[in-house]
Amino acid sequence: MSKIFQHLVSSAVPVPIENIDTDQIIPARFLKATTREGFGENLFRDWRYNPDNTPKADFVMNNPVYSGQILVGGKNFGCGSSREHAAWAIADAGFKVVVSSFFADIFKNNALNTFILPVQVSEGFLDRIFKAIEADPKAQLEVDLENQFIKIVSTGEKEDFDINQYKKTCLLNGYDDIDYLLSLRKEIEQYETTRTYNF
């Protein structure tokens, strides 16, 4: 998967449900792999497939009308388990951006560490995105990281989003946290000499 994210114009896949937890994104029984790849086929497994593995016709990912590299979810997206496999599954299924009006903390970190951009918008704007997709499943969204905005292309409606500057730099350039932490080795060793307690 690409480590760089800068700008994207794409249609989106809407899942207008609140509190989408990471057990829905990738159920625990699919966490047995020891690599980061291949989780995409089980993304939203139990919403997407019947117990006999036939696709559930009413789930958005099984409707060919919907496609794109942007996943749009309801409030409190990614709550629950800390499994980074949820972010890997989303990336593996081809998404580069997740839009919601509220993200759970750990998921947000995991997404950024997987080079997926979590875009937090107001509840009003989230509603407008869902409505735009309802009106036209091919409705395009534009996401610009450098200028920190998301736009509904057809209507021109636009909203700015927040991202911390460090993570923005990482995504724009494909840097990861370990590169930065490894560069702090001297400071870490110095810190260890100042600790008074045996732990």
Binding site: K32, S82, D177, L184, R185, E187, I188, F199
Partner: protein
């Protein structure tokens, strides 16, 4: 101005704090398990770097292990491979492992405290969201993703933005039959599954103070279920008494020095919190959840909210949830027939939980159609239960005492509740499919679960306590 307990610990662990950057925070103890660590070790291999401080990481196998016949090879190939990878990775990188068959093996959040590894004032992380459990000791403990596991293995540090501070006070005394599990389910039902997102919570007040360490762990464990980064409780004599003499706890002069430091770990009286919530313990009755997130809970005698009690925007998700549960808005749960009872998980699988259940069920027998699984949190809990004869009480009651692991809390192994069945569970999550595809979960305390095991239906345990 004074500092909160959280600030005291966080600030003393900052290695580098640069404007515009998250803090580089030093980690005292890192726990790992088989599910969220293999990709992190792979990352180290790809970079060609070692584990920076291997003695500060401890490993156990818990999420994906069978809870029967642990002395035999794991049957399921993928699970066996994952557990074998943990053995291989820990050996290659010099990390101590309490694997299957080891006398210290168990659920990572049960063994850390019981071995005296978890101590006040520590920063603790693990690739598991219930790492917040260790906050019961006055530690800053939180769950992380696998990329962050790799960061800690590589540098003993993690990059984090400092969360905001919330204080939750629970005043007064708990009623009969009300446990710490009920306190935390009650709080989550009041503030929702996202009510503390962005915050680190300190629990305080008389009702919290009067709890045992194990009961405090249950509270801190579920901090993540309201979105909090973590939750902690200032250490006190109860904490120190619990730690003293444990396997890896400081001894001798080390103990005295540690104790002196631990006694400085409290929020100053003039410390400011970003948010303060206050609850009265007397308002809390035994709790039960009815929906598919831990915020959808209520007193066991109450009715599920009717649609017109909800905001219009909340209704679609609420309806979807009740459809999954096959329950009606406005209905009550008392008397609802259940099929399974699961007593276990990092929330409620400690020796006190098992003692409480054993005391309650002694001389009683489970209802005919109910399957009851008791899964101890660790080998040590299991051994203690046998020493006290608790295993015999369970056997006589028709309960199955299994071997330690996460088990039906997340159903990664074969401990799955069958589709459509109702399970009353002492675990922490009632998400769709959490206990098995299409399984339906009611979260509750060990006492409420035990009462349901005996009657075969959702029961107000207080009525049975009055009669006994």
């Amino acid at each position: 101005m004074g500092k909160t307990l959280f600030d005291k610990i966080w600030d003393s662990h900052i290695v580098v704090s640069k404007p515009g950057h998250p803090d580089a925070v030093y980690i005292n103890t890192h726990f790992i398990h088989e599910v969220t660590s293999p990709q992190a070790f792979d990352g180290l291999r790809k970079r060609g770097i070692p584990v920076f401080r291997p003695a500060k990481t401890r490993a156990t196998a818990d999420h994906n292990v069978p809870t029967l016949h642990q002395d035999q090879p794991i049957k399921e190939a993928l699970s066996r491979h994952q557990v074998e990878m943990l053995t291989k990775n820990t050996a290659e990188f010099g990390v101590e492992l309490y694997g299957l068959g080891h006398r210290f093996q168990g659920i990572v959040h049960v063994i850390g405290p019981e071995l005296g590894i978890t101590l006040p004032g520590m920063t603790i992380v693990c690739g598991d969201s219930h790492t917040s459990t260790h906050g019961a000791f006055g530690a800053v403990a939180f769950g992380i993703g696998t990329s962050e596991v790799e960061q800690v293995l590589a540098t003993q540090c993690i990059l984090q933005y400092k969360p905001k501070r919330m204080k939750i006070e629970v005043n007064g005394q708990l009623g009969k039959g009300v446990l710490s599990k009920d306190i935390i389910l009650y709080i989550i039902s009041k503030i929702s599954a996202s009510g503390a997102t962005g915050y680190f919570v300190e629990y305080a007040g008389e009702a919290i103070r009067s709890l045992s360490m194990e009961a405090r762990m249950t509270i801190c464990n579920m901090s993540i279920e309201m979105g909090a980064r973590g939750g902690l409780i200032a250490p006190d004599e109860t904490t120190f008494d619990y730690i003293k003499g444990r396997e890896f706890a400081p001894k001798g002069a080390d103990w005295d020095k540690s104790l002196e430091y631990w006694k400085t770990l409290y929020s100053d009286s003039d410390a400011e919190f970003d948010k303060v919530l206050t609850f009265d313990a007397a308002d809390i009755e035994p709790q039960i959840t009815y929906g598919t997130n831990p915020g959808m809970g209520m007193g066991v005698t109450r009715h599920i909210p009717a649609l017109d009690q909800l905001d219009e925007k909340e209704r679609p998700s609420f309806k979807k949830s009740l459809e999954y549960m096959d329950l009606q808005p406005g209905a009550e749960l008392l008397g609802k027939k259940i099929d399974y009872v699961f007593i276990g998980s990092c929330t409620n699988s400690r020796i006190e939980d098992l003692r409480l259940v054993a005391d309650f069920v002694k001389g009683k027998h489970k209802a005919d159609d109910v399957v009851v699984w008791i899964v101890p949190g660790s080998k040590q809990v299991e051994a203690q239960a046998m020493e006290e004869g608790i295993d015999k009480i369970f056997a006589e009651a028709g309960f199955q005492l299994r071997e330690p692991g996460c088990s039906a809390c997340l159903a990664m192994n074969e401990d799955k509740v069958p589709a459509g069945m109702y399970c009353i569970s002492t675990s922490n999550r009632n998400f769709e499919g959490r206990q098995g595809p299409n399984a339906r979960t009611f979260l509750a305390s060990p006492l409420t679960a035990a009462a349901a095991a005996i009657t075969g239906k959702v029961t107000d345990v207080r009525e049975l306590l009055v009669n006994s």
